[in-house]
């Protein structure tokens, strides 16, 4: 009896730990090898860098010769801008859909649900046409617009659920206090859905940061290339500069990790506690 009860959690932990190892292994491999010389990478890819194999040549190349500072800045601005738009517009739309009954609200909700189910890449050709006709090709604005559209449906869907859980009494108390609807949104609703916003932020930013497709077709220029696109210059048809590729990949992890840490702090806090009994 006692043994079988112990076995359950043990099995679960074993499963989770093995999954974690599988998931983290490639990332660790990239990080180890980015600090090794080219020879060492091919000779023993699984070993840790030691005194003999330690080499920063990849980082020197990435930071020194190429325009990686531009790529980083591009990636960061696109991700942060898209994130800001998705969160602000998503929360506002979610508040409208959750709180107000207006003609066509059901249709809007359905329209957004379709946006969750159909990947935005299916519309790449028409998106390209639109961006070209707007004269936005090779601009970061094009990327921000597309990523905002990509992130909104799921963001609205999730935030709407959270907003619907905020007790009506709170909004009504605010209305009795004479607070305007905009102010209720900014100073009551937003602070209370912070954990949800953090969740949405995390899974909005990762696909944006990692995306290669839209930078490739909408902003392939040298000035507007993102990190993922920039890395491609080290991958040749005949020769691949693995030191530089691994070093740039390692560097690319850093900003997104920082953003994640910022948001994950919010995830822990349950803010609605104490609102109502």
């Amino acid at each position: 009896m006692r043994n079988s009860r112990r076995l359950g959690p043990l099995a679960v932990h074993a499963l989770l730990i093995s999954y974690t190892i599988i998931a983290l292994f490639p990332i660790l491999l990239i990080i180890f090898n980015s600090f090794k010389s080219r020879k060492a990478i091919f000779k023993s890819p699984l070993s840790l860098p030691d005194a003999n194999t330690f080499d920063l040549v990849g980082f020197e190349k990435v930071l020194g010769s190429s325009s990686f500072d531009v790529y980083f800045l591009n990636s960061i601005s696109v991700t942060v801008m898209s994130l800001a738009f998705v969160l602000v517009l998503g929360a506002m739309a979610a508040w409208a859909l959750a709180e107000y009954d207006f003609p066509g609200s059901d249709f809007v909700a359905l329209f957004l649900a379709i946006g969750i189910m159909i990947p935005i890449r299916l519309g790449s050709v028409s998106l390209l046409k639109i961006i070209v006709s707007l004269g936005l090709i090779n601009t970061l604005t094009a990327l921000v617009l597309v990523y905002t559209a990509q992130g909104l449906p799921l963001a609205i869907f999730i935030l709407r659920e959270f907003i619907a859980q905020i007790p009506d009494d709170l909004k009504e108390a605010a209305r009795c206090d004479g607070v305007t609807e905009y102010r209720i949104f900014w100073s009551i609703i937003l602070p209370l859905i912070r954990p949800a916003l953090a969740t949405v932020a995390v899974f909005t930013m990762i696909p944006v940061w990692n995306d290669l497709w839209f930078p490739l077709i909408l902003a392939p220029g040298e000035d507007t290339a993102t990190v993922t696109l920039g890395i491609q210059q080290f991958i040749g048809q005949y020769v691949t500069d693995w030191n530089a590729v691994l070093a740039s990949l390692t560097l690319a992890i850093v900003p997104i990790l920082i953003l994640y840490l910022v948001f994950s702090r919010q995830l822990i806090r349950g803010l609605t506690s104490g609102a109502v009994k």
Partner: protein, 354 residues
């Protein structure tokens, strides 16, 4: 310092359900009005209509001389205390109370002065820096009241504010609300389903049933002269006893066939006789109006409730006696009704017979 006037106020929801069928009332300056009734009677809807949280379908609502049907809640100059307190969880107690004043663009000094005054009145001065999650139920209730007081509104609206508190705290807060309202002399409208709260707090109370006011009057008026069987059964605890009485040429008889020793209003074949448990006394068989058999005795300490069954009646008759019951279970005993305290109702319309 305000009057509230309700003129044929009606509420129909979009799905056609009529929640309020028309209420007329004039609430005087400084009056404490309690709206009481069972769940679903429309009492909360009525309060929310006065607050502006529900639209008014028909009729007129005036605060002082201003028609406020279309006015937003924030501009009606009312303050509402919610059942769930509805404190802003991310703000400190101070900010919770100050928020409404900040919205009204009062100066920082004035806000501080008002909040501190309210905190003094409610004795929550030590809690001002805390978050609502760090407070007990009773403290949250005080903060919710504080939030209403600081604004110095024309009308206080209370939506079952005590129903989340435990019994002891509820009695304590009930008394405090009464004292507070007396001291501030602000017109108050209070919704509850608890008839004890209703009786103790109200200057006048409205008993609602099915979207209609059954009776409006002072607690003792409603207790002494209930207009309908509904009010009679709702006000007073334990509830009034109802005995169906048949009247024919020979006289009036109880369901058991026993004759009544007193006269009943004429002109009706069937009459519902109402008598409160406290208006029945145990007596000797020769003075008896009715003979009962004890089914249950409930000792309450100061008094006891005796449930007695009577032939021909579905429900037990409740008798309230002082101190301990002098009868045993299964015993038969004789009771006499206080002739001054008899109520008669028409069983078809359920309204009071003169």
């Amino acid at each position: 310092m305000s009057t509230v006037t309700l003129k044929d106020l009606k509420k129909t929801y979009a799905n056609g359900f009529q929640a309020i069928h028309g209420i007329d009332m004039e609430i005087r300056d400084g009056e404490f009005i309690v709206i009481v009734g069972p769940s679903g009677c429309g009492k909360s809807t009525l309060l929310r209509m006065i607050a502006g949280l529900e639209t008014i379908t028909d009729g007129e609502l005036m605060i002082d001389d201003r028609r406020v049907n279309q006015v937003e809640p924030g501009k009606r100059d009312i303050a509402m205390v919610f059942q769930n307190y509805a404190l802003y969880p991310h703000m400190s107690v101070y900010d919770n109370m100050a928020y409404g004043l900040k919205i009204r663009k009062k100066s920082t000094e004035e806000i501080a002065q008002q909040v501190n005054r309210a905190a003094d009145i409610l004795e929550i001065g030590a809690l001002l820096d805390r978050k609502p999650s760090q407070l007990s139920g009773g403290q949250r209730q005080r903060v919710a009241m504080g939030r209403a007081i600081v604004r110095d509104p024309k009308v206080f609206l209370f939506d079952e504010p005590l129903s989340n508190l435990d019994a002891k705290l509820r009695v304590q807060m009930r008394i405090e609300i009464r004292k507070l309202q007396r001291a501030l002399k602000t017109t108050a409208i209070y919704v509850t389903h608890d008839q004890v709260e209703a009786m103790t707090l109200a200057d006048r109370l409205i008993v609602m049933n099915g979207g209609l006011p059954e009776q409006i009057g002072s607690p003792m008026e409603l207790y002494d002269r209930p207009a309908t069987t509904f009010v009679a059964g709702f006000i007073g605890s334990p509830a009034m006893n109802f005995i169906p009485v048949r009247v024919d040429k020979k006289g009036a008889t109880f369901p058991s066939g026993q004759n009544l020793n007193f006269s009943v209003p004429s002109g009706h074949e069937n009459v519902l006789l109402g008598i409160r448990p406290e208006d029945i006394e145990i007596t000797t068989p020769d003075l008896a109006d009715l003979t009962l058999k004890v089914s249950v005795i409930e000792p309450l300490g100061a008094d006891s409730l005796i449930y007695g069954s009577c032939e021909g009646m579905k429900e037990d008759l409740v008798v309230r006696v002082r101190d301990k019951a002098t009868v045993q279970e299964e015993e038969t005993f004789s009771v006499r009704f206080n002739q001054q305290k008899l109520h008669y109702f028409d069983p078809t319309t359920n309204s009071r017979l003169p």
